[in-house]
């Protein structure tokens, strides 16, 4: 029996482990190795150059430019996305008309709202990028956003959006928010549904307003979910590859205004064939991501409200 058990264990684990080791673990290890070589082509050999790539990266204004854009997004996108997500989820769960026998209630049709809101989460980011590329079409008559602004009499706000250096990055960030709010509505709704009703009841009996119940009850009780969601959204903000690659003028333009780290890595490797240098970017991205995740977890935990 024992013999049969071990044969079974090995038999069942071998294939998944081999596939995983070849395509995930070994690239992970190799990424560090390649980052310390000057591998620059599809043929030829790679020489060990130590930390030279990292030094070059440190001095590269292009990479700092891209990193800065990711950091802007990191500061803005999660706040707005999670804020809107919490706001809508609270409305769906607590913002409804009080019916008989209920202390608080969600609005009617909350399932329908969630169905629609969540939709961008299931479709490909390529499709989202193409749609918004058209919405931002700079032509005052042909562009959806511009013609809408013209229609409601706000011609003054018409803009070239993705073509405008000061706006392009924010236009792309807005798409990121648009695509993920529904996800957080669903996530926070599920968490809110688990909060015992009698806590709200007690607060409302004591005369608390809905504003107070949100900040004193809902938010503190959801804090752990918010924190995890924050890390997840932050990692998305540190990516932005597909949106920038498809939507931006000249891949990262105009004039580098929307360049992001993953795009830099992709172009350095697969356009310029500087694989060693690009791998160093990958390692740098890993460090940035890990730092962000660790800091968020520590910082958020300290602020956690006990009840």
């Amino acid at each position: 029996m024992q013999h049969g058990k071990y044969r079974f264990i090995v038999g069942f684990l071998a294939l998944p482990l081999i596939v995983y080791a070849i395509f995930v673990i070994s690239p992970f290890v190799q990424a560090f190795q390649i980052s310390m070589t000057n591998w620059s082509g599809l043929v030829g050999t790679a020489e060990f150059v130590g930390l030279e790539n990292f030094q070059r990266l440190w001095e590269s204004s292009d990479f700092w430019n891209a990193l800065r854009h990711n950091v802007y997004m990191l500061a803005l996108v999660p706040v707005v996305t999670l804020g809107l997500g919490l706001f809508f989820a609270f409305m769906l769960n607590v913002g409804g008309k009080r019916r008989k026998n209920e202390v608080i209630a969600g609005v009617g049709g909350s399932k329908m709202y969630k169905f629609v809101f969540f939709f961008p989460q299931v479709i490909s980011v390529t499709i989202i990028a193409v749609i918004w590329f058209n919405i931002y079409n700079p032509d005052p008559d042909d562009g959806m956003l511009n013609s809408f602004l013209g229609f409601i009499g706000l011609d003054g706000l018409q803009n070239s959006w993705l073509g405008e250096k000061s706006l392009a990055l924010w236009c792309i960030s807005a798409v990121m928010v648009w695509g993920h709010v529904g996800f957080y509505v669903v996530l926070f709704s599920a968490a809110m549904a688990s909060i015992p009703r009698d806590i709200y009841e007690a607060a409302l009996l004591d005369g608390a307003s809905r504003f107070h119940t949100f900040f004193r009850i809902t938010l503190p009780l959801l804090w752990d979910t918010v924190q995890t969601g924050w890390v997840y959204m932050g990692i998305i903000a540190l990516d932005a590859f597909a949106l920038v690659q498809i939507m931006s003028v000249n891949m990262g333009g105009p004039d580098g205004a929307t360049d992001v780290m993953p795009l830099r890595l992709y172009l350095t490797a697969f356009r310029d064939s500087q694989f060693g240098y690009a791998s160093a970017m990958g390692v740098a991205m890993l460090i940035v991501t890990m730092t962000f995740a660790v800091l968020t977890m520590r910082f958020a935990r300290r602020e956690r409200i006990e009840y």
């Binding site: 990424a31 969600g106 990958g282």
Partner: protein, 307 residues
Amino acid sequence: MTTEEIEAVAKQDGPATPDRTPEPAKRKSSEGGVLNVFSHGILIVWGLMVGVPLLWVAWSAFKDSNGILTDPWGLPTVLHWENWSNAWEDANMGQYFVNTAIIVGGSVIGTMVLGSMAAYVLARFEFPGNRFIYYLFVAGMSFPVFMLVIPLFFVMRDFPGSSLLATYHGLILVYIAYSLPFTVFFMTAFFRTLPATVAEAALIDGASHSRTFFQVMLPMAKPGLISIGIFNFLGQWNQYLLPMVLNQQEDKYVLTQGLAMIALQQGYENDWGALMAGMMIAMLPVLVVYAIFQRQVQSGLTAGALK
């Protein structure tokens, strides 16, 4: 409430609407009325912001290029069905659809088989190295794919025998490998929740370990398999970065690549109607899955983020 508890709740399929425990009405309910109108107003505005761009794709798929460009908001006056055949044949979306279906079909099945085999062994058998292998799989969830693509490209190119770049089986293996971390994590947790007695009874009745797995445990794990299957289907159908790097041969393109290419070329080719129809072709399978499995999709994807 602990993180685990909230996550456990957030992962449930449970209704987001409050419990309807009947209790006597205690106070007047004037506050809800105004708030309800306000809530619906804001929720509808966001619903339109999400829904209209998506509907726009649907109705634009029936307009000619001229109509899409000069009157972006207008409904089609004549239904241009030829957009669909243009997209399917001339723009090769048919080929890309077939490629995507083969790759995703193979990799979803492969992921579920390999993932649940590994998860079953890790969840239900004790052996030296069990924890190590489990954490090795789970660690993969935190590797940024961007860091891995450069070495992965060379692993695929230099694969013993023949290059795996731009091949169906190569992409299937990669998709499986990158889906294993979450699948193993999810299914291990799922197998732990199943009663051990059933498997023991089967073994005592003389079934082998493999037979017990395939004929007893897998059928019991069906709800978990459905969730993880949908999760992997959506993720793999919409995958963009991996095919961009590993599948640079046009006749092997998947839908997301094809769409990005057509979108980026539009300036020259100008068949916007075909692009819109192509987007619908790429979106329809996802739309169908989402419409049917709405609840599982929402709970599965939110559980996926809280890994």
